[in-house]
Amino acid sequence: MRSIFYILSALAVMGLGFWAYRENYQTQSAAREVRELRQQIGLEREALAVLNAEWAYLNRPDRLRELASINFDRLQLLTFDPSQFARVDQISFPPFELRNVSNSVEVIGTLEGAQE
């Protein structure tokens, strides 16, 4: 009985040791991963800043104006003009059609026995 108890406790100690060992290495690898991700986020941020700068550079008004005049034949873009404001009723919407009435509900009835 006693020997079984010793063996079991020895096994338990070995198991716990193995578990602690694994946890330790998992923690370390998780920490490494976090570090790598942080670094990656930093690089992505840097790239984002460059892309933002490039976006702003490509969308600078001078360039857009030049592009609009180069492509005038195809796009015919003109500067925004007061006459382009319109009221909703100036827009030609598609003609309005009445739909067929189906599943109608009777709302008129006769009062039976009302004459009496």
Binding site: R38, R45, A53, P61, P82
Partner: protein, 598 residues
């Protein structure tokens, strides 16, 4: 024993001495015995004290060595870990915050680049490297590089910024003594748009692995601390400018400047309720990415770095008349239909005040503004008086530098007459003798015409109106707007009509002062200060042309009505839709005509 100090035992107690004498003993022995006891007592006490001290010292050393030992043990058994900053992931933030317009479009940002430096002692082939570098960067001097690379120097800066292509070309030289340091570079992606507001930036203290960026002018200098403050966590500085409107403004202004053969031009577009400057331009301008050095000789006001809208103070001419008219109405001196004497010329001492045309003996106050009569305005100013005029103009902010948030604004201080005499009052009433900047004028117009509440010009985006103390009543403000509307619909600024936008405004043509005194005959500053829409004011636009000249209808024209007004009208046509203003169908006739009392 402790009582001994208080109750000193006598050395020769009488009782014992008498007893000893009786026994025939020597009483001196008693004294010696007592002395001995006393000495023993003293010795015990000092020994105890020393022991205590030794104990304290011992404990102290034990603790000290213990701490050292424990710390050494800790260090020996712990694994070495590189210290790392932990946070919620916001980690890397640029050295200097971005600047954006009111819609978040980037006006200034940073990009990463490299700086090139050399360690000549590590060089394999200094002559070859110098020749190759001059091949890549033609602006470098070969002799200087050769001297630096072969001389005693151990460190040489070559260039502060490299493009990636240039960096690759330097790599291809294959010289181990040429090294790169990371750099952040300030980039203004829109080039010369809003150049005077941006100002520019340069490097401050430099080291191999980083350099600080320091603003040199404009908002970059004004908000230098804010932009560099890490506490803001990279939050951008949001300006009140609208990039699209600013670009359209500069486009039209440049076209107008060329068309009217003007030397320079400026414009200010301001929200009348918040004081936000939506667009502000000064031509000629420059590229803040490559800011030119300030001119060391010549007139600084001719330099492209000079901000005509903020720093330039000019006598702006008849645009000031509306202030005189507004004050006259406010003080009850006149109402819009009061007849004012306009018979010229008006003589005052050795001065003569004349009108462009002779307008006959009298005009109503509205017509004095509409036809722009100097004589009539001068008569009004005489009735107002110097002191009240000065107070009123001061309340509009025309007598001190504007609080506009660029560093140059402090230099835009109005020039006042040294002695505010009656003749000064009369000339200032139509805009001569007092110099102010176009930004001052825009601020004063906004304050008078927005319903009469003082506003301050600002470059930062505001969330709501920032209205200051009342300067004129709402009625006076409405009457002044009606007058300005009539100036456009039937007066000197008839070219300023933009259908649907109810433009109201006042022209001003001022002869330029000669540097040696007096005025030029043939050089003018033409200004158009306008408000739109006049019945429900939203924006004030001030456009100024410096020395315009155009040949229209058989005459060389230099007056504002022929030069700057068409430019301003075109500008309003372009920018009003961009500002989201829809054209309205106008009601005919002056606004205030039904406000008669019985």
């Amino acid at each position: 024993m402790s009582d001994n100090s208080e109750l000193r035992t006598p050395l020769r107690p009488l009782a014992r001495i008498l007893a000893a004498r009786r026994r025939g003993e020597n009483p001196d022995n008693i004294e010696k015995e007592n002395i001995r006891l006393r000495h023993e007592d003293m010795r015990d006490k000092s020994r105890l004290r020393s022991e205590g001290r030794l104990l304290v010292l011992g404990v102290f050393f034990l603790c000290a060595f213990g701490i050292v030992g424990v710390r050494m043990g800790q260090m020996a058994i712990s694994t070495p870990i590189e210290p790392q900053s932990s946070g919620s992931g916001t980690g890397i933030v640029a050295l200097r915050a971005d600047i954006t317009d009111r819609n978040g479009r980037i006006l200034a940002t940073n990009i990463n680049t490299s700086a090139l430096y050399a360690h000549p002692q590590d060089m394999v082939n200094p002559e070859g490297a110098a020749h190759a570098l001059v091949g890549i960067f033609p602006e470098l001097e070969l002799e200087r590089l050769l001297r630096d690379f072969t001389g005693e120097r151990r460190f040489v800066w070559i260039r502060r910024q490299l493009s990636p292509e240039q960096q690759q070309a330097v790599f291809d030289i294959g010289e181990p003594g040429l090294l790169f340091g990371p750099r952040e570079m300030r980039l203004y992606p829109n080039g010369d748009i809003a150049a005077h507001i941006m100002g520019g930036a340069t490097y401050g203290r430099e080291a191999v692995n980083s350099a600080e960026i320091v603003g040199t002018a404009g908002v970059e200098a004004q908000f230098d601390e804010f932009l560099r403050d890490p506490v803001n966590d990279g939050a951008p500085l949001q300006l009140s400018l609208d990039l699209t409107v600013q670009a359209a403004t500069e486009d039209v202004l440049y076209g107008g400047m060329r068309l009217m053969n003007a030397e320079g031009a400026s414009s200010v577009l301001m929200d009348v309720y918040t004081g936000e400057v939506i667009a502000i331009a000064s031509l000629p301008d420059f590229d803040p990415n490559n800011r030119p050095r300030p001119a060391t000789e010549g007139d600084a006001s001719q330099s492209p770095l000079f901000n005509r809208a903020v720093q330039g103070v000019y006598e702006l001419g008849s645009v000031f008349k509306i202030f005189t008219a507004a004050q006259a109405m406010e003080e009850g001196i006149a109402n819009p239909s009061t007849e004012i004497e306009t018979q010229g010329p008006l003589r005052w001492g050795r001065f003569t005040i004349n009108d462009f045309h002779n307008y006959g003996p009298r005009l109503s106050l509205t017509d004095v503004i509409v036809r722009s009569s100097n004589v009539g305005t001068a008569h009004l100013a005489q009735m107002i008086g110097a002191e009240r005029q000065r107070t009123f103009l001061g309340s509009l902010g025309l007598l001190e530098a504007t609080p506009f948030e660029i560093i140059e604004a402090r230099g835009g201080r109005p020039l006042l007459p040294p002695n505010w005499s009656e003749i000064s009052t009369m000339t200032i009433s139509y805009g001569h003798g007092l110099s102010s900047s176009p930004l001052h004028l825009a601020t004063a117009y906004a304050s008078v015409l927005n319903g009469g509440l003082r506003i301050e010009p600002t470059l930062l985006r505001q969330d709501g109106p920032r209205l200051g103390p009342r300067v004129v009543s709402a009625e006076t403000s409405a009457a002044a707007r009606s007058m300005l509307r009539q100036v456009v619909s039937r007066g000197t600024a008839s070219f300023g009509e933009v259908p649907g936008y109810e433009v109201g405004g006042k022209t001003g043509t001022a002869d330029k002062p000669r540097p040696q005194g007096g005025y030029y005959e043939d050089r003018t500053i033409a200004t158009f200060a306008s408000i739109f829409p006049a019945s429900d004011p939203r924006y004030v636009l001030v456009v100024t042309l410096d020395e315009p000249e155009t040949f229209i209808a058989g005459e060389t024209r230099r007056t504002a009505g022929w030069t700057v007004v068409p430019v301003a009208a075109e500008m309003i046509r372009r920018i009003a839709p961009l500002l989201g203003l829809r054209p309205e169908i106008e009601t005919e006739g002056p606004v205030g005509i039904t406000l008669s009392s019985n």
